[in-house]
Symmetry: C2
Subunit: 513 residues, 2 copies
């Protein structure tokens, strides 16, 4: 009954709005305030069905409005893929990564890249181009080397983990124990682990599950008395390359050096240990944690025709990278499709009602430092300031669509918008969003957000390794992703209503990536 | 007319043989001697049609004889895949590669592996287990490092090439030129190349075409006055790993250091050079060529019931490897399926008329040194001694069948034999053979030979890199390959006739791999 009432009431509102020629959004707002519920749960409060059984009942006017964007989306796609912009995202990405290489938090090359991008943004006609400060950790790798000494001598290719301490000068030589899980280590008597190097060799399941060994392996090992932790690189596939990433020491443990070794070596060491062979490893790492450095989020906009600081659509990726490879995939490409989407919309003369803001986050790899600073700086205004957060940080392979988070009302709008993406063959709609580490600071609190879905089966093959290079990227694919970002952003930024949201003020600490 | 005559004459011979209950082979031999042509070209001398249009006309008796092996092949496959041997090839391969690691020519680990295998062969019941000496080059890598100094600083991951000399102590620092082809280098004035490092960045086409840059790049560059050569790793796909391999100095050039760098870095350096940026590289290599070492081919047999040194079927792969990774794929696996095929046939009580001989060649990577020595040592007897040479050196991924070389008569027999491999879904027959570098010393001179066809699309991803590990191998797939080798070898070794051959005495120098 209740449901039915609101369903008809809502439709009535739209009808009135239509008849009055007034802004649907305002009518909805009024109605929402009265009903103290967000608008489409009013229409049908069988919430789960909206999302999971595809039973959206968008007001017809809104649905028609969204459908009306098809010609604009077609134009955006045509112009980006077939016109003078074709290949430009790729070329810009290539130019920057060739010029500066990696962009580790705290490094000069990151700051030089930011200066360069500010200049590029300005030359490209972006508006309100500026940076906003964000303190970031300053970890330096230094020389590192590892070698198996017993049962035979063999070099172990390794990459120290971000925030890891180094070894004493000259390195350490220690016996090793190898396990495939935390449970296996916990079951060992402390006396067996004390003074040894612990080698974690978890089988790859998913990144989310497996990365725990990299994130907290050193702390878990240290708690058992280990002197260092070596972790199987967090990847499902290897051609002899180690993969780095961040780790975090628990406050209650003695800090010990932590590094990832190759899947090849890690699996071999586990076999050796299980055969009862005595493994001795020499490990040397010069890694150091310096004083935090000041970095910057890099920002450029296409300002909306309405209040430009209200209901902004954010497109984003992070500019910082690890210090191996050039971070073309993780995540310069995500930042660049954000930048280029804004630039092309402007050059196509498509200025929407709301501002579209490209943000290239800094310090993501060490734990979303750029996003955290940005959140603090915009805390007072965030509810009014942000309409939608979009991020690309799980690859820019062939686009499939987008995944979204938000309340059920928002999801129904997103689902309708994604139907416009047929010219890109990228109409997939999924929920919740799963690929936006930086924007998770807002996603987790109910803000509407979205992440690029793409054919990224090989993403973790290259992730955080020397293989993260321009070879992973493709000009046509990048154009498609840029066109997808531009299309979604334009429609949302120009829609007659803001994306509905149900937010909490509680700050939720995101998990380390 | 001529053709028709021999066709009927041949059939008549078989008929006589059948009636007389005598050995078909002997009858054929007599007939062949009389006709001074090999036997099946007698049957039908439209030679090219046999091979390329599938028009084999095997004598019915022979065809029936081959078809009669189906139950034996079924048994071999069943027992190896489903019985106590299941997983054994993989486990043995794992045990040796874990125990000794790489097996570079001249290294102690290669010689230790050979000693170990002699022992394993004996324990496995192989017969006439022994080694035969073969001198091999003794090249040692030593410390090596490269860094781009200009236009920015970045480490360049590299692997020196086999036989390369080192740099002077302390390394060299030189400007670089980058080209994508020999032609592009040749077109440059010598003055532009003199004193510089030449970077070759050929696009991958096929291994055969692309590997020339690794094989002779240093010589080509030296002839233009270069001080070192860096070559894009010879692989179609990369995750930041360099690939090594052998190179050869022309006798007319000054020797200069040669190494492969990653595809990622090579393609970046080419772009930089083409933009007109000044590239300066620091290169240090301690590589040295020591006095040749004595190594050994490792041999074990299942001796035939007839003269065991006559008409031997050779199954082979090479035991030596590069000094990165553990050479599980290239080519311990090829050697191990040869070994295990012989072992299992014996354990199954399947002793054929002719001897099946497993040979694990040494010194292949530097230019077939083991095979060359073997050829010399067996030159006097080779025509009578060898019936068929089989090799596996292009991967032991899922088997598809085999490719063959030999005269048209031989090819028709092989084609018929491959039809027996339906239980392995590995019935493909191709010609000529393309994957037997060691046995090419005989293949090139007309000896019947064969190589494993397998789903090796990713072979060069791992080839000569740190990625050549047990992760490339799979227990079930190895069992299938062992079963295929065992089946083909058994049928050929037990057939009523030798494989016909048309050989030349001319020695043909094979190309470097």
């Amino acid at each position: 009954m209740f449901t039915t009432f609101y369903f008809y009431a809502s439709n009535l509102c739209f009808l009135i709005a239509k008849m009055m020629g007034r802004n649907i959004q305002k009518v909805l707002l009024i109605f929402t305030i009265i009903a103290d519920v967000s608008w489409s749960s009013v229409i049908d409060n069988r919430v789960d069905k909206y999302v999971y059984r595809g039973e959206c009942h968008l007001p017809e006017a809104l649905q028609k409005e969204i459908q009306g964007y098809q010609p604009v989306v077609n134009t955006i796609v045509d112009k980006i893929l077939g016109g003078k912009f074709a290949g430009d995202t790729y070329n810009s990405l290539l130019e920057m990564t060739d010029k500066f290489g990696h962009r580790l938090a705290g490094s000069q090359s990151l700051e030089d890249s930011i200066d360069y991008l500010v200049d590029e943004f300005q030359k490209a006609g972006l508006e309100n181009v500026h940076t906003e400060d964000a303190p970031v950790p300053h970890w330096v790798r230094g020389f590192e080397s590892a070698e198996m000494i017993s049962p035979r001598r063999a070099p172990l290719n390794l990459l120290g983990l971000g925030t890891s301490i180094g070894t004493p000068r000259g390195g350490i030589v220690a016996e090793a124990v190898a396990v495939d899980s935390f449970d296996e280590l916990e079951a060992m008597p402390d006396s067996l682990v004390k003074g040894k190097i612990v080698i974690f060799v978890p089988a790859w399941t998913s990144y989310g599950q497996t990365v725990r060994y990299r994130s907290i392996g050193a702390s878990v090992a240290s708690r058992k008395g280990a002197v260092a932790a070596l972790i199987r690189s967090i990847t499902p596939f290897s051609i002899g390359s180690p993969h780095t990433g961040v780790q975090e020491y628990s406050s209650d443990v003695k800090k010990i050096p932590a590094a990832c070794i190759t899947v090849e070596d890690a699996t071999m060491l586990l076999r050796m240990f299980r055969r009862g062979e005595k493994i001795i490893i020499r490990l040397e790492m010069e890694a150091r944690n310096l004083e935090p450095a000041m970095s910057r989020n890099t920002i450029g906009e296409l300002q909306g025709t309405q209040n430009p600081n209200k209901s902004v659509v954010v497109l984003s990726g992070h500019l910082d990278s690890w210090d191996v490879g050039v971070g073309a995939m993780d995540d310069a490409a995500g930042g660049f499709i954000s930048w280029k989407a804004v630039q092309y919309l402007k050059q196509l003369g498509l200025r929407p009602k709301r501002t579209i803001r490209a943000i290239l986050w800094t310090g993501e790899e060490f734990g979303y430092y750029g996003a955290k600073a940005y959140q603090k700086q915009h805390a007072a205004t965030e509810k009014e300031e942000f309409n939608l957060f979009v991020e690309s940080d799980i690859g820019t392979f062939d686009p499939l669509g987008m995944d979204f988070s938000g309340n059920e009302d928002a999801l129904c709008i997103f689902r309708e918008i994604m139907k416009l993406m047929t010219p890109l063959n990228a109409t997939q709609f999924k929920t919740p969003t799963d690929g936006g580490p930086d924007i998770s600071l807002w996603t987790n609190r109910g803000y509407p957000s979205a992440s690029l879905l793409n054919k990224n089966e090989r993403y973790f093959w290259f992730h955080h390794s020397a293989g993260d290079s321009m070879l992973v990227e493709d000009p046509i694919t990048l154009d498609k992703n840029t066109a997808l970002f531009a299309s979604v952003a334009y429609v949302v930024a120009n829609l007659s209503i803001d994306i509905p949201k149900t937010v909490t003020d509680e700050l939720i600490e995101p998990e380390l990536d």
